[in-house]
C-alpha cells in the first residue's frame, strides 16, 4: 500500500473520531445551559471546553469574549477552526477521496453523503436552538461511517491504519478531557461528595458519553473520584478509557508488524508500554500525580505517532 494511502486512512479516521468528540463536548455545554444555578461555573465550563480541544487561542483570535453561541458556532461550523465539526467531516472526506480505491463503496458513500448533508446545516445561519438536532446528526453519521468500516472493509493493513487513527485520537482526547479537569478528581477534604463534585464528575463522564456506562459498571451507590479515574483510565470495560485505546493501538501495531513481516530485533515499544499500563492502579497514578501522569501519557502517545509515521507514512528508506 502507498505510504500516503496509509496516512490518509489514518487521518480520515482521526477526523471522524474528532467530529464525534467535539459534538459530545458540545452536548455537555448544552446540558449545562439547561441546568439552573450554574452561572458561577458557566464561563469556566465553556473555557474548559475550548481548552480540551486545544483551540482557545484560535478562538480568541476571532472572538473577543467567551460567548455560548459563538463557541458553539466555532466548534461546529467555523472554517477558521481546523477542528470544527464541519472541517473534520470535510477533512475526513478529502482524505478518503484521495484514497478512494482503498475503501469500500459503502464507506465512501457514508462519508460522502455525510459531507453532502452537511451543506444543509452550513448554508444557513447557525441558530443555537438547533444544537441538539445537529449533535444527534453528527453522532449518527459517525456511527454510520464507523459501522460501514467495521462491516465492509477488508481486514487488511488499510483497516489497521483506520483503527489506529480512531484510537490515537480517542486516547489523546480522553486524556485531555481528564487533564483539563484533573483537579476535580483530586482527593480533597473540603469537597468530597459535595453537590459540585457530583455535578462536575457527571459532566466529565458525559463528555465522553460514559455516564450511564459508569453506573452500569460500578452501581449507582458510591460515586467517588477514584472510581472515575479507574473507569476512565484503567477499565477495559469502558470503550473510551485510556487503556482500552492503548490495547487497540498495541493490537493493530503488532498486526502491522506481522503483516509486513517486520518483526526485527527491535522490541515494539508500545507493547511494553501496554504491559506496564496493565499493572497500574489508581493509587499509583495518584502517587505520580494525575496531571503529570496525563501529560506524560499524551507525550508518549505522540512519540508512538512519530514512530508510526516514520515506519509507514514516509516510505523511503528505513
Amino acid at each position: 500500500m502507498l505510504s500516503r494511502t496509509a496516512e490518509n486512512l489514518y487521518w480520515a479516521a482521526r477526523y471522524i473520531e474528532r467530529a464525534d468528540s467535539i459534538s459530545r463536548l458540545l452536548e455537555v455545554g448544552y446540558r449545562m445551559s439547561l441546568i439552573p444555578n450554574t452561572n458561577s461555573g458557566y464561563n469556566n465550563e465553556w473555557e474548559s471546553i475550548l481548552d480540551t480541544s486545544d483551540i482557545k487561542s484560535d478562538y480568541l483570535k476571532y472572538y473577543k469574549e467567551l460567548n455560548k453561541e459563538n463557541i458553539e458556532f466555532f466548534l461546529l461550523f467555523d472554517d477558521r477552526n481546523n477542528s470544527s465539526v464541519s472541517n473534520c467531516i470535510k477533512n475526513a472526506r478529502e482524505n478518503i477521496r484521495m484514497v478512494r480505491t482503498a475503501v469500500t463503496l459503502e464507506v465512501w458513500n457514508s462519508i460522502n453523503s455525510s459531507f453532502q448533508e452537511l451543506q444543509k446545516f452550513t448554508e444557513k445561519k447557525y441558530k443555537s436552538r438547533e444544537l441538539p438536532e445537529i449533535i444527534d446528526w453528527v453522532k449518527r453519521q459517525v456511527n454510520l461511517i464507523r459501522g460501514t468500516i467495521l462491516n465492509t472493509q477488508l481486514i487488511n493493513d488499510g483497516y489497521d491504519f483506520l483503527i489506529l487513527g480512531t484510537y490515537f485520537e480517542r486516547a489523546d482526547f480522553t486524556a485531555r478531557i481528564i487533564d483539563v479537569k484533573y483537579f476535580i478528581l483530586l482527593p480533597s477534604a473540603e469537597y468530597v461528595g459535595s453537590e459540585i463534585d457530583n455535578f462536575q464528575w457527571s459532566l466529565m463522564l458525559r463528555s465522553i458519553s460514559s455516564f450511564r456506562a459508569f453506573k452500569w459498571a460500578y452501581g449507582s451507590k458510591e460515586i467517588n473520584s477514584n472510581k472515575i479515574i479507574d473507569f476512565l483510565v484503567l477499565s477495559m470495560m469502558c470503550p473510551r478509557s485510556l487503556i482500552f485505546s492503548i490495547e487497540k493501538i498495541n493490537h493493530h501495531l503488532v498486526r502491522l508488524e506481522k503483516f509486513y513481516n517486520r518483526k526485527n530485533k527491535k522490541e515494539i515499544k508500545i507493547s511494553r508500554f501496554y504491559e506496564n499500563f496493565k499493572k497500574l492502579n489508581v493509587n499509583k497514578i495518584l502517587e505520580i500525580g494525575l496531571h503529570i501522569f496525563l501529560k506524560k501519557f499524551i507525550k508518549d502517545l505522540s512519540t508512538f505517532y512519530v514512530s508510526l509515521e516514520q515506519k509507514y507514512f514516509i516510505g523511503i528508506k528505513r
Binding site: M1, S3, R4, T5, M98, R100, N109, Y260, G315, K317
Partner: protein, 469 residues
C-alpha cells in the same frame, strides 16, 4: 444542420424505438428520473472541480438521459478512421524525433515543428518502447450529415472524459434497464481492461518481470481527479501523486508501507512541463525529480511520452490527411474540417476578409478558450482578432462555422434539439495491439443553438450507444 433523429418529418431508423420510449415517458417520471440520476452522480462522487474556486468547487457535469445513437455501420467507419489516424500519429511523432523524413520530403514546413512549443528537443533520437508515444488518443468528431463524420481535433496528450463514457452507461442501465432489452447496445465497460492490456504491452527496456503500472495524477484538486481514481480502481493499480514517487540512481520507486517499490510504467495525467522539475519546469510541485532521466535510461516508461503534444496541435492537424498518406499510404477515412492556415499569405487574406463567417482558433489553445466565433463576435472583438492574426499569423487557423449535428435533450417541457460532438478513445499498444471500445463520450451544448460543448463552458454529456449488428 443535421438532425440525427429526424430526416425531414420521418424518424431515422436507429432512433425509432428510443423516440417511442421518450414520448411515452410521463412528465413527472422524467423529473423524477432526472433527480435520481443527479443523486447517483453525487453519491458516487462523479464531480469535476473548477479552478480558482476550490472550496465549494465540485460540480456535476450535467447529464442528459436521452441517448445518442450510432448504427454499427456508422461506427465501423468511425472506428476505422480513428484507428488509422492514431496509428499515423504515432508514426509521425516517431519520425519527428528521429530522421524527420516528413520534413525532408517537404510535406510539413519545418518551422511548424521546430518552433512549436510542444516540440521537445530532449526527445530527439530517443527510442521509446515499441515506438509508441501516444497510446491513448481521444479524437473529437462531429457529424455534418447522413454520411459525413469529420475530425475536429486529435487529443494525444492526456485526453479525459472516458470515465463519463463508462459511468453514463452505468447510470442509464441502472435507471432504464428495459431499454437495454429492446435495443442491443455494444458494451463500453471493457475499456479499463483494454487500457491495462495496452499499457502492459509497453514496458521499458529494463523490465523483465510483469510490469508494475501506476497512474500519476496532479492530485485531488485536479478537475479530472475523479477519472484518475476511477481508472485506477477499475484497473486495480495504484493512483499516485508526484510526492508518492522518487527516483534513486535512475530507478523510479513509489513509497509504500513496505518500503520503496519499483515502478515500471506510468500512465501520467499531468502535463509534460510538470513531470520533472529537474528537466522541465523547476517550479513544479507535482512532478518527480529525476523522472525524465529514469525514463531515458529505460527504467520506466511514461505514457504518453513527453513531446507527444507535437501531434495534436491545430497547425499539425491541418496536415493529418498528408500524414496518413505519408506513413500508411492510405487515404484518410475521416475527413478534416476545412482549415485555413494563416501563415500562408493567401489563406490569411481570405480569413481576414471573411472573418465574420469563420471560427478563428489559436493554434495551441484548448478547451474552447482563445477562439473567436465570427458570427457571434462583436465588431470590437473581430478587430482585435484581425490585429492578432496580422501580427502573429503562425499562431492562428480558421475554420468555417461547422454546424454540429443535433440530438434532443429532455428540456423542461419537451424534447428539444441540441448540438453534440463525439469523443471516442483509441488505444494503441506495442506489437500492433490496438483496442477501441464501441462508443465514446458525447458532449452536448445545453444552451439552445450553442455550438460550444466543453464542460468548462456549460456543456453536458450523454450516453452514447453503438448498436450491435
Amino acid at each position: 444542420m443535421f438532425n440525427e433523429v429526424y430526416n425531414k418529418d420521418k424518424i431515422r431508423n436507429p432512433y425509432t424505438k428510443i423516440m417511442d420510449w421518450a414520448n411515452s415517458l410521463p412528465r413527472n417520471i422524467i423529473v423524477k428520473k432526472k433527480n435520481e440520476a443527479e443523486n447517483l452522480f453525487k453519491k458516487i462522487g462523479i464531480t469535476f472541480s473548477v479552478y480558482n474556486n476550490f472550496d465549494t468547487s465540485e460540480r456535476l457535469i450535467p447529464f442528459d438521459m436521452f441517448p445518442r445513437i450510432l448504427t454499427s455501420l456508422e461506427w465501423k467507419r468511425i472506428s476505422r478512421g480513428i484507428l488509422q489516424r492514431s496509428i499515423a500519429i504515432n508514426a509521425f511523432i516517431n519520425d519527428i524525433y528521429h530522421s524527420a523524413e516528413i520534413i525532408k520530403a517537404k510535406i510539413i514546413p519545418e518551422k511548424l515543428i521546430y518552433n512549436n512549443p510542444a516540440y521537445e528537443i530532449k526527445m530527439v533520437g530517443f527510442k521509446v518502447p515499441k515506438n509508441i508515444y501516444s497510446p491513448i488518443i481521444g479524437t473529437d468528431i462531429i457529424r455534418t450529415n447522413e454520411k459525413d463524420f469529420k475530425v475536429l481535433e486529435d487529443n494525444c496528450r492526456t485526453p479525459s472524459g472516458v470515465s463519463y463514457m463508462i459511468e453514463n452507461r452505468e447510470i442509464m442501465m441502472r435507471m432504464f434497464p428495459e431499454l437495454f432489452e429492446t435495443l442491443k447496445v455494444e458494451t463500453v465497460e471493457n475499456y479499463p481492461s483494454y487500457l491495462l492490456e495496452i499499457l502492459k504491452s509497453l514496458p521499458p527496456k529494463n523490465c523483465s518481470k510483469e510490469p508494475n503500472i501506476v497512474i500519476l495524477t496532479p492530485g485531488s484538486l485536479n478537475s479530472a481527479y475523479y477519472e484518475h481514481s476511477f481508472l485506477a480502481d477499475m484497473m486495480g493499480i495504484e493512483l499516485v501523486q508526484g510526492s508518492d514517487l522518487f527516483v534513486d540512481e535512475g530507478i523510479t520507486y513509489m513509497k509504500t508501507t513496505k518500503g520503496p517499490e519499483k515502478v515500471d510504467i506510468i500512465y501520467r495525467r499531468i502535463d509534460d512541463q510538470f513531470i520533472d522539475p529537474i528537466t522541465f519546469d523547476e517550479t513544479s510541485l507535482i512532478g518527480v525529480p529525476g523522472l525524465f532521466d529514469s525514463f531515458k535510461t529505460g527504467n520506466v516508461n511514461i505514457c504518453s511520452a513527453p513531446g507527444s503534444g507535437i501531434a495534436d496541435d491545430k497547425a499539425i492537424y491541418t496536415y493529418m490527411p498528408e500524414i496518413i498518406k505519408f506513413y500508411l499510404g492510405e487515404e484518410a477515412v475521416l475527413e478534416n474540417v476545412k482549415t485555413w492556415r494563416c501563415y500562408i499569405e493567401s489563406e490569411k487574406k481570405y480569413v481576414i476578409e471573411n472573418i465574420d463567417k469563420l471560427v478563428v482558433k489559436e493554434v495551441h489553445g484548448s478547451g474552447g478558450y482563445g477562439m473567436l466565433i465570427g458570427t457571434k463576435a462583436s465588431k470590437n472583438q473581430i478587430e482585435i482578432f484581425k490585429k492578432k492574426i496580422k501580427s502573429d499569423p503562425d499562431n492562428f487557423i480558421a475554420q468555417p462555422i461547422m454546424s454540429l449535428s443535433s440530438v434532443p435533450i429532455f428540456s423542461k417541457k419537451i424534447l428539444s434539439p441540441r448540438h453534440v460532438d463525439l469523443r471516442p478513445f483509441c488505444l494503441i499498444g506495442g506489437n500492433r495491439k490496438n483496442k477501441l471500445v464501441s462508443g465514446g463520450l458525447t458532449r452536448v451544448a445545453l444552451k439552445e443553438n450553442s455550438l460550444v460543448v466543453n464542460s468548462s463552458q456549460g456543456g453536458g454529456v450523454k450516453d452514447t450507444w453503438v448498436l450491435a449488428e
